[in-house]
């Protein structure tokens, strides 16, 4: 009896492992095909501009609000901690480096995924459900070139810009806390920011933004594109499950990729 139970568990584990491997393989293939489709896609410029615009319109307000309050909180917390050691003058250094190296790219990417990534997965999922993707195939149009390629390029452009917005708004938030709410001289704060930030920090920030942008766009598009393959789900349920999966997996991948990139840089 116990042996049968154990065999069942091992068998279930094996099935899950195989399914996960298959999914990962599918994702890798999807990523490769999407990247290759960028070269073949026709009349890409207009759709790239539209996708970048949609990314910006959807995300800029929320990015600015969250960044400002992140900076405000960071400014308050850091000021109090630094004041214990009489190092309030280092507030600009701490806030700017924290935002540029870590919080800026990671939080901006997570916000973009929540705003635009889930919308991308849902949109492509609905297009799959209503046979719009099959219609593209029957018209000899590469669905990846038409649907995913412009989003990839938009992510390449949009993620670094939105991350820059987040970082700048966050640093401004830190200044408001440190200099307007508390007692730090504005000149001290801004000169610390200027001295702290090196080109290598900016490179790290941009690299992370680009990597997060490409990875999350692929994950979100893949989940929408394969919405019809969600086991036991169909229609609207499959689309909503795909959007949820897209956000969850993108968030996990952002943190894993952040650790990997940071471990190479530090």
């Amino acid at each position: 009896m116990r042996i049968t139970h154990a065999a069942g568990m091992i068998s279930a584990l094996g099935r899950s492992a195989l399914a996960a491997t298959g999914e990962l393989g599918g994702l890798a293939l999807f990523a490769a095909r999407s990247a290759a489709s960028v070269k073949r896609a026709k009349r890409l410029t207009g759709r790239v501009v539209q996708a970048t615009y949609e990314l910006g319109v959807r995300c800029v307000p929320v990015i600015l609000i969250v960044a400002l309050f992140t900076g405000l909180v960071l400014g308050l917390q850091c000021y109090v901690i630094l004041a214990r050691f009489g190092s309030e003058a280092a507030l600009g250094t701490l806030v700017s480096l924290t935002l540029v190296r870590e919080l800026g790219p990671v939080l901006a990417a997570m916000l973009i995924v929540g705003q635009a990534g889930s919308a991308l997965a849902s949109e492509i999922g609905i297009q799959r459900n209503t046979e719009q993707i099959t219609a593209l195939e029957t018209m000899a149009i590469d669905p990846l070139g038409y649907l995913v390629a412009p989003r990839l390029i938009a992510a390449l452009v949009g993620f670094p810009i939105l991350t820059a917005f987040f970082t700048i708004a966050g640093i401004v938030g830190g200044w408001i806390s440190g200099s307007l709410v508390l007692t730090l001289e504005s000149g001290v704060y801004w000169s610390a920011v200027e001295r702290a930030l090196q080109p290598a920090d900016l490179r790290e920030c941009v690299t992370k933004a680009i990597v997060f942008g490409l990875l999350t766009t692929i994950i979100c598009a893949f989940n929408g594109y394969t919405a019809h393959r969600r086991a036991g789900l169909a229609g609207a349920q499959a689309v909503s499950a795909s959007a949820t999966r897209a956000v969850v997996w993108s968030s996990i991948v952002i943190l894993v990729a952040d650790y990997v990139i940071t471990s190479f840089v530090v």
Partner: protein, 269 residues
Amino acid sequence: MKADPPLLEAHGLRLSYDGNPVLDGVNLAVARGEAVAIIGKSGAGKSVLLKCLAGVLHPDAGSLRLDGQSLADSGPQARATLHRRCSYLFQGNALFDSLSAFANVALPLEQTTDLPDHEIKRRTEDAMARLDLAGCASLFPAQLSGGQQKRLALARALVTQPDFVLFDEPTAGLDPVRRNAVFMMIAAARREFGFTAIVVTHDVPEAEVVCDRLVLLDGGRIRFDGDAAQFAVSHDPVVQAFRDGTEALARGIEALGDPTQDYHENLSR
């Protein structure tokens, strides 16, 4: 003199889902300029056959030939050739809801040809005008009526001037008046554009009028293949069930007896 090969030829198409055969050795040849109606019960494999002919689904076995050239391997190149020469009209139209009517029709030209913008505009406007959609260019599909959406889907299917068009239940869910209008639209478009048509439908009387040939699919196999006259005299019970469906229904109802009589008898007891 050697006869021209059929425009599209399927040989021994087989396809199973979870071990259940949906297509079980389908052979079908469609000549250039012909209009073929594929009829059959729900779940008989009609739409699956159509998707195999369109290269959207890949059969487990069998071959497909286009103008005598094999598409058996169904490699990307062969599929691209097939897709360039055929158009598919979906049951639900599959229009792009975020694009205007004009953009929907122009899409295949923009994405599959190197035509200049003014030529794409001219062809798109021409296709829309021919299907009475001239005033709808800037509207989105959701703003159009059901009939206009169907015509828009047809305009998108015809704008690339395909050799053949596959219609997947174009009249599903329509009332008799609109059903006739759709068949009329197909007949008029065939006359106007001169394409070969394969129509999956349940509407046998209309298909008899509009199409040159009827193909009855039953249990994944072709049960009948002939013209309307042959269909009318066939003794095959499955064909008879389709042909005489209304009469069979009337006979069945008659056999039930008069329900009001039972009701009155029960009351008088």
